[in-house]
C-alpha cells in the first residue's frame, strides 16, 4: 500500500477506535438491572418495586412516565429534576419510579398514560394525590411538590 494511503488508513482506524472508546465512556447510562438514573437520582423501574419501597419507608410515591426520545422529558431531567432544591426534595421525601414507556408497557397501560412526560403522585396506600400530564417548568413544579406533600400529610 502506498505510504500516503497507509497513513490515511491509520488515521481512519484511529478515528474509529477513538470514537468507540470516547463515546462508550461519555454516553450516559440511563439504567441498569436495578435502577434508572435520571438527574443523578435512582429510580425504581416498575410500579410494584416502588410501591413496596414506599410502604416500607412510608413515603410518597412519584411515578414518572418518560421515553428516551421525548424532548420534554429531557427538559425535565436537565432543568427541573436537577435543580438543587427540587433534587433534594425528590431524593429525601419521595420514592421514585421512572417508567420507560417503550419498555414497561404494563405500567403504562395500568395508568392509562398516552404520551410522555406524565407524572402521578400517590400515597403508599395507592391514593392518587395528583396527576401531572406534560411538562411543567421548575418553579411551578416546586409548588406542585409542596402541594403534594401537604396533601399527603392529611
Amino acid at each position: 500500500m502506498p505510504a500516503v494511503e497507509k497513513i490515511l488508513t491509520l488515521l481512519a482506524l484511529g478515528a474509529v477506535f477513538g470514537f468507540a472508546y470516547y463515546s462508550l465512556n461519555s454516553t450516559p447510562v440511563i439504567s441498569d438491572r436495578n435502577f434508572t438514573y435520571i438527574a443523578e437520582l435512582e429510580w425504581y423501574q416498575t410500579y410494584e418495586e416502588g410501591l413496596r419501597e414506599a410502604k416500607l419507608q412510608n413515603k410518597t410515591l412519584m411515578v414518572y412516565f418518560w421515553t428516551i426520545w421525548c424532548i420534554y422529558c429531557e427538559k425535565y431531567h436537565t432543568e427541573v429534576f436537577s435543580r438543587p432544591d427540587i433534587n433534594a426534595i425528590l431524593s429525601e421525601k419521595f420514592v421514585r419510579v421512572a417508567v420507560d414507556m417503550d419498555v414497561n408497557k404494563r405500567d403504562t397501560r395500568r395508568f392509562g398514560v398516552q404520551a410522555p412526560p406524565y407524572i402521578v403522585f400517590m400515597t403508599p396506600e395507592e391514593r392518587v394525590l395528583m396527576r401531572v400530564p406534560g411538562y411543567v417548568p421548575a418553579d411551578e413544579f416546586r409548588r406542585i411538590l409542596d402541594t403534594v406533600l401537604a396533601e399527603a400529610e392529611r
Binding site: P2, E5, L8, V16, F19, A20, T27, C70, Y72, A115
Partner: protein, 763 residues
C-alpha cells in the same frame, strides 16, 4: 391455488439449478434457474392478485388489506409485512440469478451459484413464514387493514423501492466474493474484470433505488408522523442509511478499481459485498425485535434466520478479503494525488458508517449483555457525524475540482475553503445557530468534546457547500457537457443542496400553538410561540409547551367539517321504505337502515322508531344511548301485529344489536380549514385532517409549500369542542427535496451513460 406449492416448486428449482451448476449440466441449470425465478414471480403475482381481489382466505391479506382501499393501497399490502417482503426479495435475487445466464464464463457460473443459494435461502425463509398461511376459520368479508399511518401514496411506494434497491445488491455481492476467491487463487485480472464492470452498474441501480426509498420514507415521515421531520435517527432509519453509505463508498472506490484493477483490490470488493450485508442488517434491525423503533413491526418467525444470514454474509467477505490480502499484499507502491483524495473521502465515509453502525447496534448489544441502557439519541448521531460530514464535504469539493494540470490551484482552494469553514464554526449570529443542543440529555456528564462540538455554528456548513458548487462549476467548464460528467456534477450539487436543507431547516423551524372554540369560525387568533428553535435534528414534541408568547403570526379558523368515508363492506341492508313495501312474513330476518326518530325505554330493552322520511319502523333493541337523527342498521327477526308504544299495532324488528353506520365506515374524517397570516398578509391556507379508523387514528397535516419554506399545521387531537393545533414554519425544507431531485437525476444520467457504452463481455 395454494401459493406454498409454488414456493416448494421454486425451492426444488433452485436445488436443480445448484446441481446443474455444480455438475456442469447446462440444461438442468437453465431449467432450474428459470423455474426458481418463474415460480417465485408466479407466487408474487398470486399474492398481489389475492390483495387486488381482497381474498381474505389468506391471513396475510386479511391483516394488511381492506375492501375499501383503492387498488394501489391494496397492492401496497403485499410489502406491508415480513412475509411478503421476503417473497419479493427472493424473487428479485432469483431474477439476478437468471440475469447471470447471459454470461457464459466460469466467473458467471460461480457468481450464479452464490446468487441462487441466496435466493434459495430467502425462499426457505418465506416458507418458514409464509404469506400464504390460510386465515384460521372461515374467512371474514372484511380485512383488518393497514396501520392508518401507512395509508399514504409515498408509503405505498417506499417498501417497493427499498426492496428493489436491496435486491440489486445480491449480484454485486456474489461477484465480489467470487472475485476475492478467484484472484486470491491467482486468477488473472482480465478473467475477473466483469465483476466490476457489471457489478458497478448493479450497484448504481441499488444506489438509485435506495436513495429514492429514503427520500420517499422521508417525505412520508415529514407528512405523516405529525412531528413534521424527515429524519429522526430512529434505529431503522439509521440502519437504512448504512447500506446506502457503504454503496456510496463502494461505488467511488469501484470506479478507481475499474480504472486500475490492482488498486483497492481488497477494499473495493469488500465494500461491495458489504452493501448486501448491510441490507440484511437493516432487515434484522427492522424485524428482529431487538431494536426499539417505530418500524419494529412484528418480531417474525424468520428472525433468527435473518440473524444467521447476517452472520454469514458479514464473515464470508471478511475472511476472503483477509485471505487475499495476506497472500497478495499489494505490490502498488505509488499512488496518484487523485487516488489519495478519493481514498481519504472514502475513509471518512467509512468512519461515518461505523459511527452510525455503532450508534444503532451498541446500545441493544450492551443491554443484552449487561442490562445497562445507554442514552443514544439523535444528538449522539448529530454530534459525532457533523465534523466528519464537514470533512467529507470539503474532500468532495477537492475531489471534484482536482485535475493534474490544476494541482496547485486545487490545493490552494481547498486550504482557503477549509480555513473559512473553521472560521465559520465560530461565528454565531444567534443562539439557534448551535449545531447541537449540548445541554440536552446526551451530555448529562458534559464531556469536553461534546460541549465543544455542540458549540459549532451551523454557518460552518456554508463554505463546504459553496466549495462543492464552485467545484461543480469548474468541472462542468473543464469537461463540457458529457452525459456522465453532467450526472456526476448533478449528484454532488444535489448533495450540497441537501446539506444546507438538513442543517438549516430543523434549526430555523419555529413552532407555534393555537386553539379555537369549535364555533369560532372567522376568528383570528395569534399563534403562540411554543419553542423558539428545535436545534439540529431536534424533532418531536409532546407535552405542554413551556413558553407561550404571542408571535407576529396569526391564524383564522375558516371551517370545521366532519364526515364519514367509504363503507367497509358491500351494502347488505334495505331502507325502511323498501322494508315497508316488501311482503313481510313473521320470523324472517332483515337488515334495515334508517335514522333514529324516537327512542322509548322499556323494561330491559327499548323501542326505537326508525325512519327514512318516507316510512317508519319500530325496532325492539337492547338499551342504547341514541341521538335523534343518528343513522343505524338494525338486523333481526320480524314480528307482526305487536302492540306498539304509539298505541297502534304493527310490525316490529326484534334486533339484538344495532350497528351504527359510523362504525361501519372506512374512516371518520374531521377537517379543519385555516389560513395563516403574518401581520395582515396571508402566507398559507389549507385543510388539515384528523382521521379515525377502526384500527387506529391518523393526523394529516396541512402543508402549504412555497419556495422559501413550508407552513405546516397539524391537529393536536380529535376535534371536540376545542380545535387545537400546532403550526410550524419550516424554512429551507424544500431545499432537501430539491437536492434529492438533482441527486436522482444525476444517478439516472450516470446509469444511462453506462448502459450506452458498456464493454460487453467477450465470447
Amino acid at each position: 391455488m395454494n401459493g406454498d406449492l409454488l414456493l416448494y416448486g421454486a425451492f426444488a428449482g433452485g436445488i436443480c439449478a445448484i446441481a446443474g451448476i455444480a455438475t456442469g449440466r447446462e440444461r438442468l441449470r437453465k431449467a432450474g434457474t428459470a423455474a426458481l425465478f418463474g415460480l417465485l414471480l408466479a407466487a408474487t403475482l398470486l399474492l398481489s392478485y389475492a390483495f387486488a381481489v381482497s381474498d381474505f382466505s389468506y391471513y396475510y391479506v386479511w391483516k394488511f388489506s381492506s375492501t375499501v382501499y383503492p387498488l394501489y393501497y391494496k397492492l401496497s399490502g403485499v410489502l406491508a409485512g415480513q412475509e411478503g417482503t421476503l417473497l419479493f426479495w427472493a424473487m428479485l435475487i432469483a431474477a439476478g440469478g437468471l440475469w447471470l445466464e447471459r454470461h457464459g464464463t466460469e466467473f458467471a457460473r460461480r457468481s450464479q451459484m452464490i446468487v441462487v443459494l441466496l435466493a434459495l435461502y430467502f425462499t426457505g425463509m418465506t416458507l418458514v413464514q409464509s404469506p400464504f398461511e390460510p386465515y384460521p376459520g372461515s374467512p371474514p368479508s372484511e380485512g383488518y387493514g393497514l396501520n392508518p399511518l401507512l395509508l399514504d401514496p409515498w408509503m405505498a411506494l417506499h417498501p417497493l423501492t427499498t426492496f428493489l434497491g436491496y435486491g440489486a445488491t445480491a449480484v454485486p455481492f456474489a461477484g465480489a466474493l467470487v472475485y476475492l476467491f478467484m484472484s486470491a487463487r491467482g486468477a488473472s485480472d482480465s478473467a475477473c474484470r466483469v465483476w466490476i464492470t457489471e457489478g458497478l452498474q448493479w450497484l448504481r441501480y441499488a444506489w438509485l433505488f435506495s436513495t429514492i426509498s429514503m427520500a420517499f420514507g422521508g417525505i412520508w415521515a415529514y407528512k405523516t408522523l405529525g412531528w413534521g421531520g424527515f429524519w429522526a435517527w430512529d434505529p431503522v432509519e439509521a440502519s437504512m442509511l448504512l447500506p446506502w453509505m457503504v454503496m456510496t463508498a463502494a461505488l467511488h472506490l469501484g470506479v478507481e478499481h475499474r480504472r486500475n484493477m490492482r488498486r483497492y483490490s481488497v477494499l473495493a470488493p469488500l465494500l461491495t459485498a458489504y452493501s448486501f450485508t448491510f441490507t440484511v442488517f437493516a432487515t434484522a434491525v427492522t424485524r428482529s425485535g431487538i431494536f426499539e423503533s417505530v418500524h419494529a413491526f412484528i418480531a417474525g418467525g424468520a428472525g433468527k434466520y435473518v440473524m444467521l444470514l447476517l452472520g454469514i454474509s458479514a464473515a464470508l467477505p471478511l475472511l476472503l478479503g483477509l485471505a487475499k490480502w495476506y497472500r497478495f499484499r499489494s505490490s502498488v507502491r505509488e499512488s496518484t494525488r487523485r487516488e489519495e483524495i478519493f481514498y481519504a473521502a472514502v475513509l471518512v465515509l467509512i468512519v461515518m458508517t461505523f459511527i452510525v453502525f455503532y450508534g444503532v447496534s451498541f446500545p441493544p448489544v450492551v443491554k443484552l449483555l449487561t442490562a445497562k441502557k445507554y442514552a443514544v439519541t439523535k444528538q449522539f448521531f448529530n454530534l459525532w457525524l457533523y465534523p466528519f460530514f464537514l470533512l467529507l464535504l470539503l474532500l468532495t469539493g477537492l475531489g471534484l475540482s482536482y485535475y493534474e494540470h490544476r494541482r496547485k490551484e486545487a490545493a490552494r482552494e481547498f486550504l482557503i475553503f477549509s480555513a473559512v469553514t473553521v472560521l465559520a464554526m465560530l461565528i454565531k449570529p444567534g443562539e439557534n445557530f448551535n449545531i447541537v443542543d449540548y445541554t440536552s440529555f446526551i451530555s448529562a456528564k458534559k464531556p469536553l468534546l461534546y460541549a465543544t462540538v455542540g458549540e459549532i455554528s451551523a454557518l460552518s456548513v456554508l463554505p463546504p457547500v459553496a466549495y462543492i458548487l464552485y467545484a461543480c462549476g469548474i468541472r462542468a467548464r473543464l469537461t463540457g457537457l458529457r452525459v456522465r460528467e453532467v450526472g456526476v456534477v448533478l449528484v454532488h450539487a444535489g448533495l450540497a443542496v441537501i446539506a444546507i436543507g438538513v442543517v438549516f431547516s430543523p434549526l430555523f423551524t419555529s413552532e407555534f400553538s393555537v386553539s379555537f372554540q369549535r364555533g369560532e369560525i372567522g376568528v383570528e387568533k395569534p399563534l403562540m410561540y411554543a419553542e423558539f428553535h428545535e436545534g439540529f435534528g431536534r424533532l418531536g414534541t409532546w407535552g405542554v409547551h413551556s413558553r407561550e408568547v404571542p408571535s407576529e403570526y396569526s391564524a383564522v379558523l375558516l371551517g370545521v367539517r366532519e364526515y364519514l368515508e367509504g363503507l367497509k363492506s358491500a351494502r347488505y341492508w334495505v331502507d325502511v321504505d323498501e322494508f315497508a313495501k316488501s311482503n313481510l312474513s313473521e320470523g324472517q330476518v332483515y337488515s334495515v337502515r334508517g335514522y333514529v326518530e324516537l327512542a322509548v325505554p322499556a323494561e330491559h330493552a327499548m323501542f326505537v322508531k326508525l325512519t327514512d322520511g318516507k316510512a317508519s319502523l319500530w325496532v325492539a333493541a337492547p338499551p342504547y344511548s341514541l341521538k335523534k337523527g343518528e343513522e343505524v342498521v338494525a338486523t333481526g327477526m320480524v314480528l307482526l301485529n305487536v302492540p306498539l308504544p304509539d298505541g297502534t299495532t304493527g310490525a316490529v324488528l326484534l334486533s339484538d344489536s344495532l350497528s351504527f353506520l359510523e362504525e361501519m365506515a372506512f374512516r371518520r374524517v374531521q377537517e379543519v380549514e385555516i389560513e395563516v397570516l403574518r401581520g395582515s398578509k396571508r402566507i398559507a391556507k389549507g385543510v388539515m385532517k384528523y382521521e379515525t379508523y377502526s384500527n387506529g387514528d391518523a393526523r394529516r397535516p396541512m402543508i402549504d409549500r412555497s419556495l422559501w419554506g413550508d407552513v405546516f399545521a397539524v391537529l393536536d387531537m380529535k376535534v371536540g369542542d376545542v380545535v387545537s393545533m400546532t403550526v410550524r414554519i419550516k424554512p429551507f425544507i424544500n431545499l432537501v427535496w430539491f437536492g434529492v431531485t438533482l441527486f436522482l437525476f444525476g444517478i439516472v444520467l450516470c446509469i444511462l451513460q453506462e448502459r450506452g457504452q458498456r464493454v460487453r463481455p467477450g465470447p
